[in-house]
């Protein structure tokens, strides 16, 4: 029997793998992939809570839809910024993006 805990542990593991990717990667696009994994794990949590704790109202599903919207907007703007930086610096390595640091 699969309980809520199984889904929560799965989401926590996925979140931590995404965090590892976002922290330990050099390429900006790889960092985006890690962030997408983290957002996905949050969606699993929301849907699992909705299913096991209040399945009469689909509030968790609505929240997940909004998270997907925000993730799509974030990835579009973020990739535009990465492309723009790449045009100026010929690099998509995060360590090179240090204009605002002195």
């Amino acid at each position: 029997m699969i309980t809520l805990n199984h889904y929560l542990i799965l989401a926590a593991a996925l979140f931590c793998i995404g965090l590892y990717g976002a922290l330990a990667k050099k390429n900006a696009v790889a960092v985006f992939m890690g962030i997408e994994l983290m957002l996905n794990s949050v969606n699993i949590n929301l849907v699992a809570f909705n299913h096991f704790m209040s399945h009469e109202k689909l509030t968790g599903h609505i929240f997940a839809v909004f998270i997907i919207v925000v993730a799509a907007a974030e990835v579009a703007v973020g990739l535009a910024i990465v492309l723009s930086i790449y045009r100026h610096r010929k690099s998509s390595t995060i360590d090179d993006m240090s204009w605002l640091k002195w």
């Binding site: 029997m1 805990n5 889904y7 931590c16 330990a24 609505i62 799509a72 703007v77 492309l83």
Partner: protein, 167 residues
């Protein structure tokens, strides 16, 4: 064992293994492919939770749109050998430590918390109820999400096109 139990462990293995391979892979295109496999696994988990609409949206938006966008990002910003396009930075060990610590903490919290569960029931189709909620109770956030998408679209176009410096 029940069929749903076997399916859950199967999908969980697909998600976690492909997510881990995504982080470990040294080739950025392979990373993107593993990420797509992980997203499809998440869509299957949504189906196990009777979230049919979200599973479809997951396939459509994540597998169809976001991964294509990320692959475009890989192709447009590539330099040098693609085989070594996805290296780790100097924080690899610290990243492993932080993520493992966070996972242990989250796992302990999840197992210790006494969740107030209700008996889960199989629902037949969530789309009707989601449309009712989106255009009823959540109409204002729905419009705000539309404006956010519009602003993100315009912002992405302007940033991506580049501002011309004419004096």
């Amino acid at each position: 064992m029940e069929t749903s139990t076997i399916l859950f462990y199967l999908f969980a293995a697909v998600i976690l293994i492909s997510a881990f391979k995504m982080v470990q892979s040294a080739n950025l295109v392979h990373s993107a492919l593993y990420m797509i496999a992980s997203f499809i696994g998440v869509a299957c988990v949504f189906l196990l939770l009777y979230a049919d609409f979200l599973a479809l949206v997951q396939i459509l938006v994540y597998v169809g749109a976001i991964s294509v966008l990320l692959v475009f990002g890989v192709m447009l910003t590539r330099r040098g050998d693609i085989l070594e396009s996805n290296p780790f930075n100097s924080l690899k060990l610290a990243g492993i430590l932080v993520s493992a610590a966070l996972f242990l903490m989250l796992g302990r919290l999840i197992l210790l918390t006494d969740w107030k569960l209700t008996a889960p029931a199989a629902t037949s189709g969530t789309i009707n109820q989601i449309t009712d909620l989106l255009l009823g109770d959540y109409a204002l956030p729905f419009e705000a999400a539309g404006i956010l998408l519009l602003v993100a679209l315009i912002g992405a176009i302007i940033i991506g096109r580049g501002v011309e410096n004419k004096k």
